[in-house]
Symmetry: C2
C-alpha cells in the first residue's frame, strides 16, 4: 500500500510516496508555476506523481490515495480551496478536479494542519492523539489535532494561535488587530524587538551586524549575549502565556514547536516551558510536554500521506 503526500507551496510542489508505516519511499519537487494557471499546476502535480510512482515501479492507479496540503483556507467537507493568495486561487474545487485528473481519491487540508498531522504520526507527536503544533516563522501558524483528527472549529480555520490578543493596544498586526501573539513572538517580532532595543542604546555582541535574523539572535542568546537573551525571553513569555491559555482551554497532550527558531533547541524551548509553567501555576498538574518538531520540511509530505490514508480507509 502506497500513498502520495503533496505539499503544495507558492514556489514549489513537494511530493512523496509514503508507505503505511509513514516511511518516505521516494520524494521529489518541481516549481509550482502558479502564474501559469490552475490547469498547468494540476498537470505538474500529475507528472510529478507519475514520475514518483514510476521510480517505485508502480502505475499511478496502483496508489491507494492522495493527500494534499494547501497554503490557504480550505473547506474540507466540500473539497474547496476558499482562498490561497500565493496560488492565486479562490473558491477552487481542488479535490474533485485533482481526483478526476489522477483517477484516485484525493483529500485536501490546510498546510499547517497537515504538518501537525505529520508530526503526530511520525514526528515529535508520536504516541499522542491530541496535539497543538505551533510554527514560529514570519508569522505564527498553528494546527490543533483532537483525538487524531484536525479540529476545524466554527470558521473552519482551526486554531489561529498567532492572532490571540496578548496585549491591549499592542503592535499593529497585518490582520488589522493589535497585540496579536505573532506581533510579539514570531521570528519577525524577535528581530523587531531586538532592533528597538539596539536603537535605544542597549549593548549587544550583535550591535555591529547590518543583517540580522532570528537565527543570529538565538545563537547570540545561546552564546550568553544579554540583550539577545532578553529578547528571546520576552518572546517566550508571550508564547508560554498563550500556550498556557491553550492548555487551560483545550488541554492538548503535547505541544510541538516548529519553524526556524525551534531548530535552535533549548535556548528557545526552555524559556517557553518556564513561562508556560509560570502562567499555568497550580493548574499545571504535571509538566506539559513542549517538544521540538522533528520532521522539518517532510512534515507536509508525511502529514498529507496520513490524510490520504485516513480518508481512503473510510471507503
Amino acid at each position: 500500500m502506497c500513498l502520495l503526500g503533496i505539499d503544495l507551496g507558492g514556489t514549489s510542489i513537494k511530493a512523496g510516496l509514503v508507505d503505511i508505516n509513514g516511511k518516505i519511499l521516494k520524494k521529489g519537487q518541481v516549481p509550482t508555476g502558479a502564474g501559469e494557471g490552475t490547469t498547468a499546476v494540476l498537470k505538474r502535480i500529475k507528472n510529478l506523481a507519475r514520475d514518483l510512482a514510476g521510480e517505485q515501479g508502480l502505475a499511478l492507479g496502483e496508489l491507494e490515495g492522495v493527500g494534499i496540503g494547501i497554503p490557504g483556507s480550505v473547506d474540507v467537507a466540500r473539497g474547496l480551496v476558499h482562498l490561497a493568495p500565493n496560488l492565486f486561487w479562490r473558491d477552487f474545487s481542488l479535490r474533485d478536479e485533482l481526483a478526476a485528473l489522477l483517477d484516485l481519491p484525493v483529500a485536501i487540508e490546510n498546510d499547517a494542519h497537515v504538518a501537525a498531522l505529520g508530526e503526530m504520526w511520525q514526528g515529535a507527536g508520536r504516541g499522542y492523539t491530541s496535539i497543538l503544533m505551533v510554527t514560529i516563522g514570519t508569522g505564527i501558524g498553528s494546527g490543533l489535532i483532537i483525538d487524531g483528527r484536525v479540529h476545524h472549529g466554527l470558521f473552519g480555520y482551526g486554531a489561529e494561535m498567532g492572532h490571540i490578543k496578548m496585549v491591549c493596544d499592542g503592535r499593529q498586526c497585518h490582520c488589522g488587530g493589535h497585540g496579536c501573539l505573532e506581533t510579539l513572538a514570531s521570528a519577525t517580532a524577535m528581530v523587531k524587538s531586538f532592533r528597538e532595543y539596539l536603537a535605544a542604546g542597549y549593548p549587544s555582541m550583535l550591535s555591529d551586524r547590518p543583517e540580522l535574523g532570528a537565527k543570529e539572535i538565538l545563537a547570540a542568546a545561546a552564546g550568553g549575549d544579554e540583550l539577545a537573551g532578553r529578547v528571546i525571553d520576552e518572546a517566550a513569555c508571550y508564547l508560554g502565556t498563550a500556550l498556557a491559555n491553550a492548555v487551560l482551554l483545550v488541554g492538548p497532550e503535547a505541544i510541538i514547536i516548529g519553524g526556524g527558531p525551534a531548530q535552535a533547541g533549548e535556548v528557545i524551548l526552555d524559556p517557553i516551558r518556564k513561562h508556560l509553567a509560570a502562567a499555568m501555576g497550580t493548574w499545571q498538574l504535571k509538566p506539559v510536554p513542549v517538544l521540538q518538531a522533528a520532521l522539518g520540511n517532510d512534515a507536509g509530505i508525511i502529514g498529507a500521506a496520513y490524510l490520504a490514508m485516513k480518508t481512503s480507509s473510510q471507503y
Copy 2:
C-alpha cells in the same frame, strides 16, 4: 424510557426524572448532609430516586440509567471523584458505589460540564454540537462540548476559562496566580471594581448603598448609571477578549453565558458581544452567537439525564 438526572451540590441534592425528549417529568430535592459521610449521602440519593420513580408509578429498576454532576474534579473513565471539597470527598469511587446501590448504570461528570450538556440538549445550545458555556458567579466556570461530548483535555478538568491569564501582574487569584479572568470579570470582581471606583470618588446612584451585589450594579447600568456601565463594560472587555481567544483556538459554534449576571440579559451580553467582535477583528467571519443560558437551575438535572442517556445507549 425514563432517566434520572442528579445535581449533587454541597447543600442540596437536586434530582429529576427526565424523558428521552429532555422533559422533566418529576423533580425534587433534599439536603446533602455531606457532613454525615458518604454512605448517608448515597442513601439519601437512593431514597430521593425511589420517591421520584414512585411518583411516576415506576420501580427504581425500571429507570434506564442515572447521570450525576459533581462539584469537583472527576475521572470520568474510572468513575472516580478526585476531589470535591464541598462534599469532603477525595478519590471516591462514586460511579461504582452508586451503581451497586441502585442496581442501575451510573455516569458521573463535573457539574459545570453537565450544565453545558444540559444547555446543549434542551437550552440555549439546542441545534449546536460544539459549545462553550461560561458561568459567571463567585468565580468563572466553564464547560466545553466538542462534537456533542464533554472535552476533558490533558488534565481532565476541561476548559478552565476562569484561569486564563488576562493581565500580567494583575489581581491575585485564589488559585495562586495573578490576572486570571475570574479576578477581572466574575460577579465578585465586578463588585470589587465598583467599590474601588467609589472609593476613588467616582459618582454613582449606588454610592449610598451599604450592601451591593453584581445584580444591583447591572440594574444601575441598565438604568443609565455611568459608573455601573463602566464597570460592566470593563468586565465585558475581559470576557469578550478571553472568548475571542477561545474562538480563535477552538471555535465553538455558540457561546452560552450562564450564572446570575447573565440573567440581566442584554446589559451584559451586548458589551460581551461588542468586545468579542472587536478582539476577533477580521477573524470573525460571521458573528459568533453569544446566548443567555436558558435552563437556570434545571441545567444540572437535564444535563445529567443526557449523560445517562448517552452512557446507557453505549451498552
